[in-house]
Subunit: 129 residues, 3 copies
Amino acid sequence: MPHFHIEYSANLEEVVDVGALCEAIRAEAVQIDAFPLAGVRVRATRVDHYAIADGNAKHGFIDLSIRLREGRSQDVKSDSITRIFATLKSFMSEALGTHSIALSAEIRDIDASLSPKFGTIRDHLETPS
Amino acid sequence: MPHFHIEYSANLEEVVDVGALCEAIRAEAVQIDAFPLAGVRVRATRVDHYAIADGNAKHGFIDLSIRLREGRSQDVKSDSITRIFATLKSFMSEALGTHSIALSAEIRDIDASLSPKFGTIRDHLETPS
Amino acid sequence: MPHFHIEYSANLEEVVDVGALCEAIRAEAVQIDAFPLAGVRVRATRVDHYAIADGNAKHGFIDLSIRLREGRSQDVKSDSITRIFATLKSFMSEALGTHSIALSAEIRDIDASLSPKFGTIRDHLETPS
């Protein structure tokens, strides 16, 4: 943990560099105490089929869901989502000026007693954290 | 908000017009008070790897998850999911007669205090809502 | 229900047989009382855009989310996720020895009153369950 899931409509593929967006969110997330570096996993899935608002094909969206191991206070989560969302909004500012795009985000808790994890990423970090 | 996420097994690609299914769900959703038009985002993701029930490759599924900003009563949510699921079932009725398919749906709340949003879709609606 | 959602980074495509992983998890799941056979749906989505930990492209992940109709005790859920995660870990043991990979899993409840379902899979099982 934490997990960052982005879904975006396929019509934004040429408007947004989604790989760079993942990297921008990662870079911001690892500077936030609530998100331990070795656990940060940002990913984005393109959706090819979608229907938005009044159904006009020009609309697009980027939706970010964050799953975080329970235990952080509401304030910490609120500050964290505010910073991450600001990163998303800033990354999208040019596109928002010219396109019909909806941005959204949420954080939800993961039940700590029902979320096993295991991995080797810590062994492969340049600077162990 | 609200978000409608469909996942479907790849073996239904030739059985179902998934773009038309997204549109059918959108068209029904925007007529339901609980779902503000400008916020409706229906999307579908095909899953290429799957294993269902007894593992027979003929089985398929369509699974719909709805995420809705908290605040609607249980009754409103129950009525809403009933209508949306009826749309899904009706859209699939012919395929259900000839194929092994599981349909499912759920609604869950989004924590309103942890779900920022921003966008330009309202500026691009033909009839502002 | 239950639903098993796997997301995996694209750089594991050549390291892991994801179809076989879905089948391994399905085969284990149907032996667990909490997971009724006809309802088991395991699927995996490859994510092409991702950014992990310190951003090094060599890192990868497999993340498994299970959605289960509410009503099982915490103990039952804990035992279930432990068995499923052990299957995942065992399936990945060779890859974990040579690659930087994070494995994770979680279970969360589905609100039974807001999750309609319908289907024909039971009619197509070789041995009806």
